[in-house]
C-alpha cells in the first residue's frame, strides 16, 4: 500500500488533500464540541452549552461535508465507486461517514433541545446525551482513520 501511495497520480492529490484535511478538522471539531458539551453538562453553564452547539454547527458539520464530499471524489478518481465489492476499508469509511450523519443530526437535536430547556436538570441530561453521541462519532472516525491508514483486507 505504501508503494501505491508513492506511485499516486498527480490528479488524486487535491481530493486526497481535502479528504485528509476534512477528516482531521472533523476530529478536531468533534473533540472541541465534546469538551464544551461535557463542560456545559458538568457546570450547567448556558453560555458553554451555546458555544458547544455553535461548534457543532460551524465546525463539525462543515468538516463532515468536506470529508464526505472529498471521499466520493477520491473514490471516483481511484475507481472504487464502480466496484461491486469494494475493499473492507472503503466500507468502514462509508459506515463511519453515514453513521456520522445520523449521530450528527441526533446530537444537534439534543443540543438544540438542551438550549431550549435552559438552566435545569433536563437540559444537563440532554447535553450529556449529545456529548455521548459525539464520543461515539469520534470513536467511529478514529476506527475509519485506522482503516484508511492500514487498509485491512
Amino acid at each position: 500500500m505504501s508503494a501505491l501511495a508513492y506511485l499516486r497520480p498527480d490528479e488524486w492529490e487535491l481530493p486526497l488533500f481535502l479528504h485528509v484535511l476534512g477528516a482531521l478538522c472533523l476530529i478536531g471539531a468533534l473533540v472541541l464540541t465534546t469538551t464544551l458539551l461535557v463542560s456545559a453538562w458538568r457546570s450547567g453553564s448556558a453560555a458553554t452549552l451555546r458555544l458547544g452547539v455553535r461548534s457543532l454547527l460551524f465546525g463539525v458539520v462543515p468538516a463532515w461535508i468536506v470529508l464526505r464530499g472529498s471521499a466520493e471524489w477520491v473514490a471516483s478518481k481511484e475507481g472504487y465507486s464502480d466496484l461491486d465489492k469494494p475493499p473492507a476499508w472503503i466500507d468502514i469509511g462509508y459506515v463511519a461517514g453515514d453513521l456520522g450523519l445520523l449521530l450528527l443530526l441526533a446530537s444537534g437535536v439534543c443540543g438544540w433541545l438542551a438550549l431550549r430547556r435552559g438552566n435545569d436538570g433536563a437540559a444537563a441530561t440532554t447535553a450529556k446525551v449529545a456529548a455521548v453521541l459525539l464520543v461515539i462519532l469520534l470513536a467511529a472516525n478514529l476506527v475509519a482513520l485506522w482503516a484508511m491508514a492500514t487498509k485491512p483486507a
Binding site: 500500500m1 505504501s2 508503494a3 508513492y6 492529490e13 486526497l16 488533500f17 485528509v20 484535511l21 482531521l24 478538522c25 476530529i27 478536531g28 471539531a29 473533540v31 472541541l32 469538551t35 464544551l36 463542560s39 453560555a47 458553554t48 458555544l51 461548534s55 465546525g59 478514529l142 482513520l145 485506522w146 484508511m148 491508514a149 492500514t150 487498509k151
Partner: protein, 128 residues
C-alpha cells in the same frame, strides 16, 4: 509496519488538529477554562512530537523515500517553526477569562496556516 506507522502519524496529526480547534475557539473569543487549554497545550506538544517521530520512521521504512528528500526537509523546517508559534496562544490564556493579546491570536492563525502547509507538503510532495 509502514501502515501502523502511518496510522500513528495520522493519530498524532489528529491530536494537533484537536488542539488547534480548541485554540481557534479561544482566538475567536470563546471563554474556555485555562485548565482545559493547558491540557490541550500538552496534546499539541505530544502531537507535534509524534508527528516528527512517526514521520521520520515512515521515511526510513518506505523504499523510495529518503530523509533528505526536499519535501521531508520542508516539512521538518515548517515543524520547527510551528511549535513555538503555536505555543504562544495557550501560554497567553490566563485564569479568569481575561482577553488573549492580539499578538498571540495572530501567532495562532500563522500556526494554523503552517499546519495546513505541512499537510499540503505531505500530499503534494514537491520535488519528490
Amino acid at each position: 509496519m509502514s501502515d501502523t506507522l502511518l496510522f500513528l502519524h495520522l493519530l498524532a496529526a489528529a491530536l494537533v488538529f484537536s488542539a488547534v480547534a480548541v485554540f481557534s475557539a479561544v482566538a475567536f473569543g470563546a471563554r474556555i477554562e485555562a485548565g482545559t487549554v493547558r491540557v490541550f497545550r500538552l496534546l499539541w506538544n505530544a502531537g507535534l512530537v509524534g508527528l516528527l517521530i512517526f514521520g521520520i520512521a515512515l521515511a526510513l521504512d518506505i523504499d523510495g523515500y529518503e530523509i533528505w528528500d526536499a519535501w521531508i526537509l520542508i516539512a521538518i523546517a515548517l515543524w520547527l517553526a510551528v511549535g513555538p508559534i503555536g505555543d504562544r496562544l495557550p501560554i497567553a490564556v490566563r485564569d479568569g477569562g481575561a482577553p488573549v493579546p492580539a499578538a498571540a491570536v495572530r501567532a495562532h492563525w500563522l500556526a494554523v496556516a503552517l499546519v495546513v502547509l505541512i499537510l499540503a507538503d505531505m500530499i503534494w510532495k514537491p520535488w519528490a
